[in-house]
């Protein structure tokens, strides 16, 4: 793999890192598998693309993704919290609805941006390359978001959000309106996902109605890869780890694509396999450890050493 490819893989990993941070908030902090992301990522891309296309400042166009993403999360949250629809179904409903909305926003299935200036051109005037400009901007956004999330999660409100995902019964008994917390978490998560979509559209030079398919699985894959590879426990550590997970995931994809008989369209299958393995491997390793313990216990009994080994 040459250096340029490695570099752009890194950049793309950072931009998808925002999606992954969003998924981390719902999946890990709120303990909620939120499928809205498949719709809110293209939502962010759509609004930003059409605004840039019609001449809005790219910076403002990017910011516009945030409230729209939050609105999408709010929708899912209300479906779940107010009307007791299951988390999965609430997310699917919003996601499907967003498909039509995204088409309406763009007015066509694909909006090209190649002839337009994007947020990534902001620094090229300073004499650095587009690729370097992308890295600087993506890093700046990611760092800003990680610091912001860390600070938020250490406030009273943030702690109540964490508690809601951990033990809803207890949080209610402590006077926290957990429904409101879930809605808040979903709104924050999806605004980050939409921001991710806004930046990715500008990076690749177009917004496409189908660019959201499978985003939840990519998000989960990155979260799990980051956690397994870095294995950190603290909140700031975990926030950084999942972004690293996003970069590693992109790297894995780039490597897989170099295998001769693999087509670009096989990637979704590859991702699904990756997540499946990641999800079942803790169980398998647990069973393996148990078997190991038993074997050790039997050894011990033979030697007359062991008394009892709990499984």
């Amino acid at each position: 793999m040459n250096l340029t490819l490695l570099w752009s893989t890194f950049n793309l990993g950072l931009l998808y890192g925002l999606l992954v941070l969003g998924v981390f908030i719902t999946f890990r902090i709120l303990n909620y598998a939120d499928l809205t992301v498949d719709g809110s990522l293209p939502l962010g891309a759509a609004i930003t693309a059409i605004l840039i296309y019609t001449g809005t400042n790219p910076f403002l166009a990017t910011l516009a993704a945030l409230p729209l993403g939050a609105l999408a999360g709010l929708m899912t949250g209300i479906l779940h919290a107010r009307f007791s629809i299951t988390p999965l179904l609430s997310g699917i409903l919003t996601m499907i609805g967003l498909y039509s909305i995204n088409l309406r926003i763009m007015g066509r299935p694909n909006v090209p941006l190649l002839k337009h200036g994007t947020i990534f051109d902001a620094l090229t005037g300073l004499g650095i390359s587009l690729r370097a400009s992308q890295t600087v901007i993506a890093l700046a956004v990611i760092i800003l978001v990680i610091v912001g999330l860390y600070l938020f999660l250490s406030t009273e409100l943030g702690q109540a959000l964490r508690g809601t995902g951990d033990n809803e019964v207890m949080l209610r008994s402590l006077g926290v309106n957990t429904n409101r917390m879930k809605i808040l978490g979903l709104a924050i998560s999806n605004s980050l996902v939409a921001l991710s979509g806004a930046l990715i559209a500008q990076y690749q030079g177009f917004a496409d109605i189908n660019m959201g398919i499978g985003m939840i699985v990519i998000g989960l894959a990155s979260v799990i890869i980051g956690e397994v590879v870095l294995g950190v426990k603290s909140i700031p550590g975990r926030l950084c780890a999942v972004v690293v997970g996003s970069i590693l995931y992109r790297l894995a994809i780039a490597l897989v694509l170099r295998i001769r008989f693999i087509e670009y369209t096989d990637l979704k299958l590859f991702t699904a396999l990756l997540v499946t393995i990641a999800l079942i491997s803790p169980k398998i390793s647990k069973r393996f450890k148990q078997a190991h313990k038993l074997a050790v216990a039997e050894e011990g009994q033979k030697d007359g050493l062991s008394e009892k080994v709990g499984g």
Partner: protein, 264 residues
């Protein structure tokens, strides 16, 4: 203090598996009263506590706390005045969060959660002092995730969390039942120092009749959703487990079959 009148709770109303869990419950608690609640499986004890806490909304009747009607108030809006301890130590604490994070959540029971730092240095000192009094060494483990603590330690922490902000009413649902005998005794002692000695109005469900007789100032027995026995302190003296069982027979007209209730 607490005034329950004519309370009914029916599950699955109008269906084949309809269940009248509470019927015509009338109960008045004076401030500072510590009441033990006994009764067989399915008698309605937990349902009663859940109605008071607002987890279930009763089908009929009213609940007043300190003169204010709370019958239909959602649970999280009652939390400022009511604290709860559950049978399962897992329910009373947030496992993935640290000891101090759990305490900080409890320190703001019933308050609005703001966008300010969750734990201040001053509060950390308060937590250390309070934890030291539990004599479990938890004051040195403020940043330990609660999931690494034992069941007994978690339950002790839950008791402390419940009293961090003085509640008007405490609801304890078999909070020693899932602990080993020795730990259960420690937690029971803590219950005395943190609730009984502090004169916090308390309803404590237990399956241990000895315990029900020894603790608190008053005992009530539930059977099939009704209060069939209500003895206050004066009458409790001289009452034994055997006599309690006799009283149960007389009141319910049934033989007591429940082994769990008999376990002393």
């Amino acid at each position: 203090m607490l005034h329950i009148s004519n309370l009914y709770k029916i599950f699955n109303y109008g269906e084949v598996n309809e269940k009248i869990a509470l019927q015509n419950i009338n109960l008045r608690l004076a401030a500072g009263e510590f009441v033990t609640v006994i009764g067989g499986n399915g008698a309605g004890k937990s349902t009663l506590l859940n109605c008071i806490a607002g987890v279930y909304i009763p089908d009929q009747g009213t609940i007043h706390l300190d003169g204010r009607e709370i019958t239909r108030l959602p649970d999280y809006q009652r939390a400022a005045s009511i604290c709860r301890i559950f049978q399962d130590p897992m329910t009373g604490t947030a496992a993935s969060m640290t000891v101090e994070e759990n305490l900080a959540l409890a320190l703001r029971r019933g308050m609005k959660r703001r966008l300010v730092r969750a734990i201040t240095e001053k509060e950390r000192k308060l937590f250390r002092d309070k934890l030291a009094r539990l004599e479990l060494g938890l004051e040195y483990r403020l940043t330990t995730p609660v999931k690494l603590l034992s069941g007994g330690q978690r339950q002790a922490l839950a008791l402390l969390m419940a009293t961090l902000v003085r509640p008007k009413l405490a609801l304890l649902d078999e909070h020693t039942a899932s602990l080993d005998p020795k730990t259960a005794l420690r937690v029971l002692e803590l219950t005395r120092t943190l609730f009984e000695k502090e004169n916090i109005t308390t309803l404590m469900i237990t399956h241990n009749m000895e315990q029900a007789l020894r603790m608190g100032t008053r005992l009530i027995m539930l059977h099939e959703g009704k209060i069939i026995l209500d003895v206050n302190d004066g009458e409790r003296e001289g009452l034994t487990v055997a006599k309690l069982i006799e009283l149960f027979h007389a009141a319910s007209g049934e033989k007591l079959q429940n082994d769990r209730l008999l376990l002393a």
